[in-house]
Amino acid sequence: MVPLSHYLALGAVVFVIGAAGVLMRRNAIIILMSIELMLNAVNITLVGFSRQWGDLTGQVLAIFVITVAAAEAAVGLAILISLNRDRSVLNVDEVNLLKW
């Protein structure tokens, strides 16, 4: 039997790795993938909780999260492709026509 705390710890660690990836990396695709990691960390947490409570809400929410992740990936990659069309920009820093 895997205790709940293990699921939560795993979820937390992966979430932090993903968040660190978002903040650290300059490559937009890697940032996108780090966001996927964050969402998956949430899924691990949800599944752990779902098992603990003995109901399906967590799993259903996890399915919705996967749905949203798919939608986000599609739109995000489309934006990247349209950005990439006339100049090869992948690093976030080079996206600098607008000043922060």
């Binding site: 939560l8 964050m38 919705f64 995000g76 934006i79 349209s82 950005l83 976030v92 996206v95 026509l97």
Partner: protein
């Protein structure tokens, strides 16, 4: 396993159902429209949105009703929010009809994406469960990412889209983690169930749990990102500057309104037991937002960007209303409905004003000339006094001067703050809005005091009647709300009455 069909009442969820049908109609009609007649899609959407407004109006005063096994709630609050969203959408489409052609983005999908965003907002306004609020938020966000980067041939717009997208996706991850932790601690995602668990037998233990506090911080950060509260505001100036102007107007009002509705529901209905904690967090964010939004706006030379910073500042004023709703009476937290009704009224005032201000930008816009620098407005006051006057009215309202809507809104907000003994907040807010006068009036100075430069192109306002009508209505509404705010205030109050 027996299937238990839940109570489904499509009449309660009529706005969403109607909007879904409208979306399908526009998508299909778009296939049969030639490229020259794409404005027809806008008119079709406008007609649909008008019907939607009627449906929402009919729902007003119908009491609190839930359907779809508690995922959907229809009450006066949701109707009020939906009404603001729908009116904003109508004006956005009206302003876009000509503008979209100028920016060469007059595809049917442009209006379809607006409608998708509106769908998400309506779901958020009626969300009675963290899951439906989250999905509504995502529908809205994903549609806005597309809308922001819609001018595909303009690198500015694409960059804005990328930045907005990356921050938005990051945010939704944060918010989602908060939802997951809350579910884990309370065993529920329904707002009322969460509140019940928090006030139940084990409620005290859950509230004391550090993970619950962490989850609350995640909620505040997630919503803070969406509302662009300082220090979570970095994406907003870029996204607002790069986006098509009518979309900027749309986002600055409708997205804010819908997110705020979700914030109000989540914090006041699900987490009243934690009010002491989140109120402190929001207090800090409010102060930062009001101060930094106004200070940063001073340095801007681009009018669109200046308005973007000013919208950050206005988000701060709005949050002030939310913070001041909680009052501590004898060590116990009590909610006074005045704060939220002030917020709702302020949002209506902000809607007419901000739509008007961005509408002026669209009014000046031409195919080869964006006209979004402050310099571009030189001498407009002398050459075109009426247009100049309209802009001045909007600036007066943004700055909070009588006799405009913004004045009444600010009065109401700061009045509540003082009434509920948030003196510091009120003082900071009034000082911050005093700063804002400086940059609003700089533009007015440029318009009236500085002559038009030799090299600048001649002023030529858009001839589209749709933009003219929209601006006229907005100017009149701004002044009307400043003189006779009674009915809207009454509506705001009655929409809050059933909420808390």
């Amino acid at each position: 396993m027996p299937l238990v069909i839940p109570d489904i009442s499509l009449s309660i969820a009529a706005p969403e159902v109607g909007l879904a049908i409208l979306i399908c109609v526009v998508v299909v009609a778009d296939l049969f429209t030639s490229m020259e007649n794409k404005a027809g899609m806008g008119i079709l959407s406008l007609a649909g949105v008008a019907i939607l407004g009627l449906i929402v109006l009919f729902q007003w005063g119908g009491g609190v009703r839930t359907t779809f096994s508690g995922f959907y709630i229809a009450d006066n609050f949701s109707s009020f929010v939906k009404m603001v969203v729908v009116v904003t959408t109508a004006f956005t489409i009206l302003l876009s009809l000509q503008y979209a052609k100028m920016e060469k983005i007059n595809y049917g999908e442009f209006y379809v994406m607006i409608l998708f965003a509106v769908f998400g907002m309506l779901v958020m306004a009626s969300g009675n469960d963290l899951i439906s609020i989250y999905l509504g938020l995502e529908t809205m966000s994903i549609s806005s990412y597309v809308l922001v980067s819609f001018i595909r041939h303009d690198p500015l717009s694409r960059e804005a889209g990328l930045k907005y997208f990356l921050m938005g996706a990051f945010t939704s991850g944060i918010l989602l983690y908060g939802i997951a932790l809350t579910y884990g601690l309370t065993g529920a995602t329904s707002l009322t169930e969460i509140a019940k668990a928090l006030s139940g037998l084990q409620g005290a233990a859950i509230i004391a749990d550090p993970v619950m506090v962490f989850s609350l911080i995640l909620f505040v950060a997630g919503f803070g990102f969406k509302l662009a509260l300082v220090p979570f505001h970095m994406w907003l100036p870029d996204a607002y500057t790069g986006a098509p102007t009518s979309i900027t107007a749309f986002m600055s009002v409708a997205v804010k309104m819908a997110t705020l509705a979700a914030v109000i529901r989540v914090f006041f209905i699900a987490f009243p037991a934690l009010a002491g904690k989140w109120n402190l967090l929001l207090w800090l964010l409010t102060v930062f937002t009001m101060v930094w939004g106004n200070v940063a706006a001073i340095a801007q030379t681009n009018l669109k960007r200046m308005l973007a910073y000013s919208s950050i500042a206005h988000a701060g004023y709005i949050m002030l209303g939310i913070v001041t709703t909680t009052k501590i009476v004898g060590g116990k937290v009590v909610f006074t409905p005045d704060g939220i009704s002030a917020v709702l009224f302020y949002l209506v005032a902000y809607m007419v004003t901000n739509l008007g201000a961005f509408g002026m930008l669209i009014y000046l816009c031409r195919e080869d000339f964006r006209g979004d620098n402050i310099e571009d407005w030189r001498g407009i006051g002398q050459d075109h006094p009426w247009a100049g006057m309209a802009f001045v009215v909007f600036f007066l309202s943004l700055g909070g001067f009588p006799p405009t809507a913004g004045f009444v809104g600010k009065l109401f907000l700061f009045g509540t703050a003082i009434q509920n003994e948030y003196y510091w907040l009120a003082v900071i807010g009034i000082l911050a809005s005093a700063v804002s006068i400086y940059y609003y009036f700089r533009v007015v100075m440029v318009m009236y005091m500085e002559p038009r430069g030799e090299s600048q192109p001649a002023i030529e306002f858009s001839k589209a009647p749709s933009i003219f009508v929209a601006l006229l209505v907005l100017v009149l509404a701004t002044i009307y709300l400043g003189l006779f705010p009674g009915s809207i205030i009454a509506a705001a109050k009655s929409s809050v009455a059933g909420l808390l």
